[in-house]
């Protein structure tokens, strides 16, 4: 398999070089250790909050750097954001029913 190189395809910008990817990777591993660590500490309701926060940061790192959302047009930002906003509508919308049942009783 001969090594054949040809000019990079313009239109798909790749400013991140290998060093950026590796640093993001190490950051992700550190956050993995952090999330596993916090699971051993009894924080009551904050356990969930901490786990979600760390997962959200890891997710953001993957989306911004590995998926190149950072240098993508604003439209892509809107698409990514709206998917999470609709997920929030679904989860919050349904949980209000279960929360209201618990707080205001069966009626």
């Amino acid at each position: 398999m001969t090594e054949h190189s040809s000019p990079a395809v313009e239109g798909t910008p790749h400013p991140s070089n290998t060093r950026t990817y590796v640093t993001i990777y190490l950051l992700l591993l550190a956050l993995l250790a952090a999330t596993v660590g916090t699971a051993f500490v009894h924080l009551g309701p904050f356990n969930l909050a901490a786990a979600l926060a760390i997962a959200f940061i890891k997710g953001l790192l993957v989306v911004l750097y590995f998926m190149h959302l950072r240098d993508a047009p604003r439209l892509t930002w809107l698409v990514a954001a709206s998917s999470f906003i609709w997920l929030a509508i679904l989860v919050v919308g349904i949980l209000t029913d279960y929360w209201a049942r618990r707080v205001f009783g069966p009626e």
């Binding site: 509508i89 349904i94 029913d97 209201a100 049942r101 009626e107």
Partner: protein
């Protein structure tokens, strides 16, 4: 994603054939086509076939409901018939009809592009749609499914012994067909607009299809995963909604209606787009409040996701959550009101030509007004307690689906028939069938409002004697409506052979699709048009353009 292999960007050398229909007659050229226009016609065949099956099941159980006793079918058969009617009409006609037939054909033409963004995915969308439809028809022949198109657990997941899993998988596959159509329309409208075609020069048909595609993308996956869970529970015994384990059947209803209410806006938004085009063309007037109608479409798409709880006021949902959904459901009447008032205002000082499409459009506005306002009864919790799951609800959504979407679909088919086939249809027959449909429709569904408030529940094979008179009226109306739908199939096919040759712009309409020949070339335009003026720029329009246009 699908890996696209095609030849390098070859310049167009050979002289193009006359148009997209006669460029190639081989079956291969139809089954492997990437031309959005041909895929639109392929969808037209599929849609018509599935509509006939749904319609036939409706005629059958309307016959059954002529008598209070269940004396034509057993209950098992009746339950399978109304489920078939629901599944076929909702998933294989109303949701795909306008976006996949008219949308596929017209979106590239209206934005001034040569084709949709992903032609191969568009063809895949048609194949998924046909596979799903044929699986559903096979299920019907093999024994049918009797859970209703809503598949409520625990009946669908534990107690039904019919082909629930096969139907759930078929609708799952059909979901991807919708997603691909929505994805294509969104990317095409963003990336393939002709030079000069700004967002506020787009026809309102495009705005409504863009809003519909948002719902395709953000809603369809949720029903896909919900039906997957039901299939898992039936097949692998993985109990998610099983009450014995503590699972909550009301949770299934939440997830189901999170998609299924926006789905009713998927069905009606494209119809709004068609009506905006028809009203503007046949009144030779600019659209009154163009931007208000455009933003109303987006508002309906977004607000549509916040109101699903009004399906569950009496199903065990907590009172306070019910009230939140009630106020939101009432407020969603505002964008629809904006549209209806603006359409009516467009007629003011217009030059109305009562061709068939305008008859369908005016019929739409009247019937959709009644359909929309009866929605207020269902959003008001106290009245909904009485009329939920009765024929009042059946009448409400048929006024919007049959009085609205089907009327707009027929109006759109007649309006763009010259552009699609290059032939004019027989105007006199068309007007007669439009009036017949309007009369048959009202006679079928207005008695059901009365039946509903009297308390006749939905999906009843056997009913109390005092409901018989109104049911007989409804069945009589259904026969007229059924006949009314047969006429267009006849004279439209007849026009393919004997219809007059259609000029490029038979109605004197604005819009890029009327600037190319009828039927269009395969690449739509000889060269991509440059858009300069505002939309619906009729020279003799009494309404002057907005100042900032």
């Amino acid at each position: 994603m699908t890996m696209v292999v095609d030849e390098p960007l070859a310049p167009i050398t050979a002289p193009r054939a006359e148009n997209y229909l006669n460029v190639d007659y081989r079956v291969r050229s139809w089954l492997l086509t990437r031309d959005h226009k041909r895929i639109g016609i392929l969808y037209l065949f599929g849609i018509t076939f599935f509509f006939c099956i749904g319609g036939a099941s409706a005629v059958l159980f309307r016959l059954e409901l002529m008598t209070p006793e269940g004396d034509l079918f057993q209950s098992e058969t009746y339950n399978r018939l109304f489920t078939l009617h629901g599944v076929m009409m909702v998933f294989f006609f109303l949701i795909p009809a306008i976006p996949a037939v008219l949308g596929n054909f017209l979106v590239p033409l209206m934005v001034g592009a040569r084709d949709l963004a992903f032609p191969l995915l568009n063809l895949l969308s048609w194949y998924l749609f046909m596979i799903a439809g044929i699986v559903t028809v096979w299920v019907m022949l093999a024994g049918g499914v009797d859970t209703g198109w809503t598949f409520y657990t625990p009946y669908s997941s534990t107690y039904a012994n019919t082909y629930v899993m096969a139907t759930a998988v078929a609708i799952f596959i059909n979901g991807f067909s919708s997603i691909l159509t929505g994805l294509n329309i969104i990317v095409t409208v963003h990336k393939l607009r002709a030079p000069g075609m700004t967002w506020f020069r787009l026809p309102l048909f495009i705005w409504s299809h863009y809003a519909t595609s948002l719902i395709f993308i953000l809603g369809t996956p949720v029903i896909a995963v919900t039906l997957l869970l039901v299939a898992l529970e039936r097949g692998l015994g993985v109990g998610i909604f099983d009450p014995a384990l503590g699972g909550d059947p009301v949770l299934f209803q939440h997830l189901f209606w999170f998609y299924s209410h926006p789905a009713v806006y998927i069905m009606v938004l494209p119809a709004f787009g068609v009506i905006s085009e028809l009203i503007a063309t046949f009144s030779r007037n600019r659209i009154y409040g163009y931007r208000f109608i455009a933003f109303a479409s987006l508002a309906i798409a977004v607000l549509g996701f916040l109101v699903w709880g009004h399906h569950m006021f009496v199903s065990g949902q907590s009172t306070y959550a019910g009230l939140v959904f009630s106020i939101l459901s009432l407020l969603i009447a505002v964008p629809s009101a904006i549209k209806v008032f603006n359409w009516t205002a467009t007629l003011y000082k217009g030059r109305l030509l009562f061709a068939t499409p305008l008859l369908y459009a005016l019929g739409f506005i009247g019937l959709f007004t009644i359909g929309g306002l009866t929605g207020l009864f269902l959003a008001a919790t106290a009245v909904d307690v009485h009329v939920h799951d009765t024929y009042f609800v059946v009448a409400h959504f048929h006024y919007i689906m049959v009085g609205g979407t089907v009327m707009a679909y027929l109006g759109g088919i007649h309006y763009w028939w010259p552009k699609i086939t290059g032939r004019m249809y027989a105007e006199s027959w068309a007007r007669f069938s439009a009036i017949l449909v309007f009369v048959g429709f009202n006679l079928t569904f207005f008695p059901q409002f009365v039946l509903g408030y009297l308390g006749m529940p939905r999906r009843y094979h056997v009913y109390a004697e005092e409901f018989q008179m109104l049911n007989v009226m409804s069945s009589a109306g259904a026969s007229i409506l059924g006949v009314g739908y047969l006429f267009p199939i006849c004279y439209l096919i007849w026009s393919l052979r004997y219809g007059a040759k259609a000029p490029a712009n038979p109605w004197g309409a604005t819009g890029l699709e009327w600037q190319t020949v009828s039927p269009p070339l395969t690449e739509n335009f000889a060269e991509i048009p440059l858009v300069t003026g505002p939309p619906y720029d009729h020279p003799e329009s009494a309404l002057l353009p907005d100042d900032h246009e």
